[in-house]
Symmetry: C2
Subunit: 394 residues, 2 copies
């Protein structure tokens, strides 16, 4: 019996719609009543950690009734909202002994907006997980952060509660398109559930930039300087942020080039496997040559730093360990000291479209969670160090 042939478009539209509907249903169940994410409270130990003070200091402040009043949770534990963490920073800066405003780490005059492009060519390298956790970490440590989801797959947006095909949210495309429908970048920025963290979510329309740009390049001087569009747009909100994180699409198109021309530094995520490394080597060569071309027509591609982040690393997996050794023999200086380990806690959190910083430790196996967050913190504090170094602070 021959298989009954079917129309491909009808079938996948039905399946796509069904999956989308069920995902939306999950979102409603998880975040009632309006499917919007909120943020949990943070323990005193967590707050001390992100503020960079000792837990005892914090306890003393509280006992002296200084700073914001925490909530009392089950078991008498004191817990703070993320907004209260910001109040605490301001309190400490105002009343601390030190002259340096080290608790509110905002940019000072002369320190330029840091734009970090998170790139890779090969998908599945942990790019979005990295960008999401980095953005949230920077917000928790007091930096005014803008995350830009430049990947039409919109996974970073998903992690922040957007479901583009249902929410019909705008994307960066609306702020960099070539026609009359272009909007100011402020109009496409949305708040997240983290104070100090805003996002420009993505949607599939972003892909249009790849088709519109070659056509615009034929016609206009503006099109030929496509690479300047993100930088120009960001100039409008320069004073609002300290750091911009751009989650680039895993392809070498105009979106990626535009992000790189706006970037001050680059983070390349790489999973230590042979095919990933081969693909990355080709990516670097091709990207280097294209970058050279747009540099000749005026793009600025000087970077403060470039680092490789090893992701989803399993130290007990011998082939991975061998690949890491191989990479270190070539790129030692530029591989971040802390690799990001593979962790069930991250996938577990992902089930409800959350990050490690959002989930409640109590809902996890304590060891699994602590190991994951320790590893994540090590990565993110290392990157934060690079950012501060680029500002000349260290």
């Amino acid at each position: 019996m021959l298989l009954p042939a079917f129309e491909f478009d009808d079938k996948i539209l039905a399946q796509g719609a069904e999956i989308s509907r069920k995902l939306d249903q999950l979102r409603l169940e998880k975040f009632p009543p309006n499917a919007k994410k909120t943020l949990r409270y943070f323990s005193m130990a967590e707050v001390a950690h992100y503020l960079g003070v000792s837990p005892n200091n914090l306890k003393r402040l509280h006992l002296e009734k200084k700073g914001p009043e925490p909530k009392i949770a089950a078991g008498g534990r004191r817990i703070y909202s993320a907004e209260q963490m910001i109040e605490l920073r301001q309190y400490l800066d105002k009343n601390g002994r030190s002259d340096a405003k080290k608790y509110v780490p905002h940019r000072k005059p002369g320190e330029k907006l840091q734009v970090i492009a998170v790139v890779n060519f090969k998908g599945g390298s942990g790019k979005t997980t990295t960008a999401a956790h980095l953005g949230q970490h920077l917000a928790l440590t007091g930096h005014r952060t803008l995350a830009i989801d430049l990947d039409p797959q919109a996974s970073l947006s998903a992690l922040h509660g957007f479901q583009p095909e249902i929410d019909r949210n705008p994307s960066l495309f609306d702020a960099i398109r070539y026609d009359d429908e272009r909007k100011p970048i402020r109009n496409v920025i949305a708040a997240t559930n983290f104070p100090y963290l805003d996002i420009i979510p993505a949607n599939l329309e972003l892909q249009e930039y790849e088709y519109a740009t070659p056509l615009a390049m034929q016609g206009s001087a503006e099109g030929k300087r496509f690479f300047a569009r993100l930088g120009n747009a960001l100039a409008d909100v320069d004073e609002l942020y300290d750091i911009v994180i751009v989650d680039c699409p895993p392809q070498l198109g105009y979106l990626t080039l535009t992000a790189l021309a706006a970037a001050t530094s680059v983070l390349i995520t790489v999973h230590p496997q042979m095919l990933d490394l081969m693909s990355m080597s080709q990516f670097l060569l091709m990207l280097g040559n294209i970058t050279k071309t747009i540099k000749h027509v005026g793009a600025h591609v000087q970077m403060d730093w470039l680092r490789y982040l090893i992701t989803r690393y399993e130290p007990t997996d011998i082939p991975q360990a061998q690949m890491l050794g191989f990479m270190q023999s070539m790129l030692a200086e530029e591989i971040l000291k802390s690799p990001m380990l593979k962790s069930t806690a991250i996938s577990d959190a992902g089930l409800t479209k959350q990050t490690l910083y959002e989930v409640e430790r109590a809902n996890f196996n304590r060891d699994t969670y602590d190991r994951a967050i320790e590893c994540m913190d090590a990565v993110n504090f290392e990157i934060q160090g690079l950012i501060h170094q680029a500002w000349g602070r260290l």
Copy 2:
């Protein structure tokens, strides 16, 4: 101290070149003297398995001095080359009791060329690993197979011994480009180390198709029918193959659409995690709509079958198991019964850019290898069944 700024293009060109050079060095070490891959011999048990006869039958043939003469390996084991497996098929078809030519499964009149597009949107879903093992399995089971690497990242090509930035191999772009430099498709087909398996390797130039197509669409009727270019090219080699496997790029561009318009069936690889599923749902919706558009202007997108293959599955990973359950509740009928399990044997083989079918079992932990190959066989025989069903054979 401020970080010393550097030119991004210079830095990554140097790093890309260094990685590429070391990878080439590895290739020379692994496949001396000319860096070309060869294929190992197969044990009697393996040959019986792929031929679909009992090992005893095969032993008897050999004792009666019928069919090709195997080589004697260490320990007196009889081993056959892949070419000898083909000879055996022909011998059995000619001398077997059955009237049906079941050992040489080539297409018969009325059975159309099967073109299988392996797609996904999210990278890291195991697409290339799947395409590579499927192509080799089909060749080992006697099908004349053409693998087309349509992903500029060229990982499928890498697995077959190509290193595009050094080998300067042609790609499908040479056979579907719009200008005078277009070549016949025969000129871009290369042999692999597997008899019955040819390949059209990829390189980064393939990406040009994404830029050239919107321009061609402005100008010419030929450009407007871009989606017909692969199908037209394949018509020239239709009589040479039974099955074509197309490893599509993980993006929704003209290459993917061109592949789908040529396809008779679709295999969607998906790693069972939340972000992957969200991205896939969007991909399906967008792909469905675009497919509808090109259908209106004449593309043929009737498929014989569509299946989802669960990849890198770890049954002990609870979040993954939950995601699989969620997917089964929506797509049950169309998820392949056998998932592909995550396996160290596959990464281990990947270290030398090889597949499970290429490596020597003796170099592996026997259990790890056997489990991986059993799982891989289950997947590939299931797909082979669908292909034969599409030919109306089952």
